[in-house]
Amino acid sequence: MIRIGAVGDVHLGVDMRGTVRPSYADIAEHADLLLLAGDLTRLGTVAEGEVVADEFAGLDVPVIAVLGNHDHQSDAEDKITGLLTDRGITVLEGSATVLDVDGVRVGVAGGKGFGGGFAGKCGHAFGEREMKAFIHHTEEVAERLRTALQGLTADIRIALTHYSPSAETLRGEPPEIFPFLGSYQLAEAIDASDVDLAVHGHAHYGTESGTTAGGVRVRNVAQPIIQAAYRVYTLEPAAVEPAYPR
């Protein structure tokens, strides 16, 4: 049994240094790894990124993160990625990593994702260049997520994004803003890739549990929803090998 710890939207500011780390001191008793589903900071400054590193680096379990929209606010996302990486936190953006947990290969592919909306109620790459740029960004990040997922050789496969691949985990948010909260194209990538669990954040008023259109379980771990340091989901590697090699 693999225990996946996950939280999103911790939104750390420089005034929060030292305040959250105590909640993760005994994490190895609860989880085998910790996923951070983006919006690690408030303003996306390097100073806030350093607080994130101080709070989450060197925990007793591996930490795998994606960035969120807040982490892009100061155009310092590359610096934040660099400093987290230097401190031993894996930051995914259209990329993947495989951990060995007691002989089980746990693969995580991830990236920020983006909005655009859900099938039949979404934006299209048509008209003004601003609109095309918006949707093209979604298409690009979804395509990189698909490539990263399909490149994974693992026993358990997890998709980690900030934006949501499902409208179901947005229940509670105003439907008018769903196109700013996620995209069905992320779910298409996930549904094409034999994923066991998709984890996201971003929708602070959404719902924890849902599925993709293709039936993959989705969990929204935005901290205002889970009201805890992190959630723990347990997964067992598939007993029956799939028809093609993983």
Partner: protein, 82 residues
């Protein structure tokens, strides 16, 4: 002309774009001359900053700051997805 919908939009924009708050998730309701703020934020300082910014955009309204600070205790259970 004073249109409450525009006041709500202006305050939501301020809470999102003012670097003191940078909160996209605070809900704003004006009922009569009462202003209600709800949502969850990461720390008490953030909650206070929301009240500070809201006060600058809510002339003549009685402000009710119902924003809560999110809990971050270690988990008490786990969900079995097998």
């Amino acid at each position: 002309m004073n249109v409450p919908q525009y006041d709500v939009a202006e305050l939501r924009r301020a809470l999102a774009e003012d670097p003191r708050t940078a909160e996209l998730g605070v809900q704003v309701r004006i009922r009569g001359d009462q202003l209600f703020l709800t949502g969850d934020v990461a720390c008490p300082e953030r909650r206070a900053a929301i009240a500070e910014v809201a006060a600058e955009h809510s002339d003549g309204l009685a402000l009710h700051n119902e924003v809560r600070v999110v809990r971050h205790d270690p988990p008490t259970g786990q969900e079995d997805l097998r």
